[in-house]
Amino acid sequence: MTVAIESAPLLQIENLRVYYWTQAGPVKAVDDISFTINPKERFGFIGESGCGKTTTIMAILRLIKRPGRIEGGKILLKGSDILTLSDEEMRQSRWSRISLIPQGAMNSLNPVMRVQDQIADAIVTHRGAVPIRELRERIGDLLETVQLSAEVADMYPHELSGGMKQRVCIAMATALEPELIIADEPTSALDVVVQKAVMETLIGVQERLNASMILIGHDMGMTAQVADRVGVMYAGKLVEVAGTRELFRQPQHPYSQALISSLPSIREKKRGGGIPGLPPFLLNPPQNCLFHPRCPHAVAFCQETPPPMHRIRTSHMAACHLLSAPEQFDSAGESDGGVLGATKAAAGAEAPSGHQTR
């Protein structure tokens, strides 16, 4: 399922850092992450809440609010860094090049404006005045692409169900045919049946536009089905990136392993468990490898040196000393903690030891 790299990447994030400046010091919400998104690709983010997924995408839109700040790095959209754009240039890029399907679609529509006016707002701002007839027709078409009737255009948000609002948001996000659609938990507020239908609509629209998509899923199973590639985030770091199938079959980073093994699986008749411990308090994070306090394989070395991103295959990278410095683990006498063991454990029938909830 992995999409072959056709051409230059659409989006390249290089060493992006976003900090929130609190009175007690900086909270490194996104700390030195790099990844790329190819044209037409669907890229999924997984990780526990608070690990920096939403902050990352808000940084891509340059919508980080005080006390947060983008501290460094590059966000290259088709090769040019959007962090160097002026505010006005950035405003023009939003929606026309990068659009957002927000996390809380329930409350993301202005309650006192008709659906039509809210969609028209985006079109008119970026494309200039359009004759009203043409505009209405365009909006009707857009609504049709998300399986809504044209009458919805004249309704107010409170007259719509959750699924309909979400569809309106999708229609709105595609109104200007952007190159990149960011979907932040686009289905989280919906019930399961509607979730699937909305997701199908979203993918249909994305494919029709040949747009790329970043998808943050609250539901890993859904992400696994939809995304071409997946990035795993932990405490503001990107710990693993791989093709979806490869990641879910052979997760390399202990955190990914734990995350994936916690998924309930029908085939194996086991219940999804949690990962013991809590994500770190980012004001005072652990040294170097942020996951070591919860990691079953951790050795002293993990606290001493930051793990580099290790390339396993062309499209599979993970940041763990198990991969980049396995000798450290051998010397520590951890016979079952090597790469091989971990991989086997994740791919096999059993979760790695120590991952079960106590």
Binding site: T22, S49, G50, M220
Partner: protein, 307 residues
């Protein structure tokens, strides 16, 4: 198919926000309050003014506030610190003896109004239904009908003689504001998780109201109280300027009314009208600062903005 370890918490972009009440927020709150200039300045002003008036009352002879106690229309001098009015009362003595009675009226009406407001607000907000409908409709009506004018009508018939009685009359209208404020907050508190939890653990409604709801209402109760006090003083002075207040106990409204009647402005007798005006401004501004600070306590979002 949701994963077990992803709690659906708020947006992760939000930095850890200290809760206003609760164990974790307690120390932060104390630190916050010590550093809040609005609260410290407001409290300092009102406490300073009250102290000045109460201690001053022991030092400055009350007889100086009586008619013909000194010269008429005297300018400020060593003998008369703030001059005298047109009937020979010493303005300095009037002010010192006049501040605390005005504050007392505000306090009486404020305490009564807030007490009634808390009881009705909690009952209405917690039980809901027809009890709530009656309480909130009455509160709305009392907020709508022009209280000052009704007070004026009432005062012109009853011609109140004592400040305490005036305070009681003002209290008739002082309960509606706090009732509405407390009711809406109780309503939202009732929906929070800890109330059903307390119910499951077998606490009675009364226990829940006292132990769970009241502590969380504290900032709103204080805000309602400050508002009621300030509103009561405003109403008192309004009634007095119209010549309907008690005329015998020295107080700020009375001094102002006398200054107006005596055309103090047009006779250039600034020492007569400036001091009561200034004292009233200090009272209103200090209460306002305190209520702003309380607002920020109740609504942390305002705190962020206020910095």
């Amino acid at each position: 198919m949701t994963t077990a370890f992803m709690p659906e918490t708020g947006p992760e972009t939000a930095p850890a926000e200290e809760s206003s009440i609760g164990t974790r927020g307690l120390r932060a709150s104390v630190r916050y309050w010590l550093g809040n200039w609005k609260l410290s300045l407001g409290l300092a002003m009102i406490i300073g003014l009250t102290g000045f008036s109460i201690f001053g009352s022991y030092i400055v002879d009350f007889d100086l506030t009586k008619v013909a106690a000194g010269d008429f229309n005297a300018r400020p001098s060593e003998k008369y610190l703030l001059g005298t009015d047109n009937v020979g009362r010493d303005v300095w003595a009037l002010i010192i003896h006049g501040i605390h009675p005005s504050l007392k009226v505000g306090l009486i009406a404020g305490v009564l109004g807030t007490a009634v407001g808390v009881v009705l607000g909690v009952v209405g907000g917690y039980y809901g239904g027809s009890t709530d409908a009656v309480i909130s409709t009455m509160a709305d009506i009392f907020l709508t009908i022009p209280s000052l004018l009704i007070l004026v009508v009432l005062a012109s018939y009853i011609r109140t003689t004592t400040l305490e009685f005036t305070a009681l009359v003002i209290a008739i209208f002082a309960w509606a504001g706090p009732t509405r404020l407390i009711r809406s907050q109780t309503l939202s508190l009732r929906e929070r998780a800890f109330v059903p939890l307390a119910k499951l653990s077998g606490q009675s409604d009364f226990e829940i109201a006292i132990k769970q709801i009241l502590p969380n209402l504290l900032p709103y109760i204080m805000a309602g109280f400050v508002g009621a006090v300030s509103g009561a003083i405003l109403a008192l002075v309004g009634i007095q300027i119209l010549g309907l207040g008690p005329l015998f106990t020295p107080n700020l409204g009375m001094i102002l009314q006398a200054a107006y009647e005596g055309a103090a402005i047009f006779r250039g007798m600034w020492w007569w009208w400036v001091p009561p005006t200034a004292a009233l401004m200090i009272i209103f501004i200090s209460l306002f600062l305190i209520s702003l600070a309380l607002d920020e306590l109740a609504n942390p979002r305002l705190r962020e903005r206020a910095k």
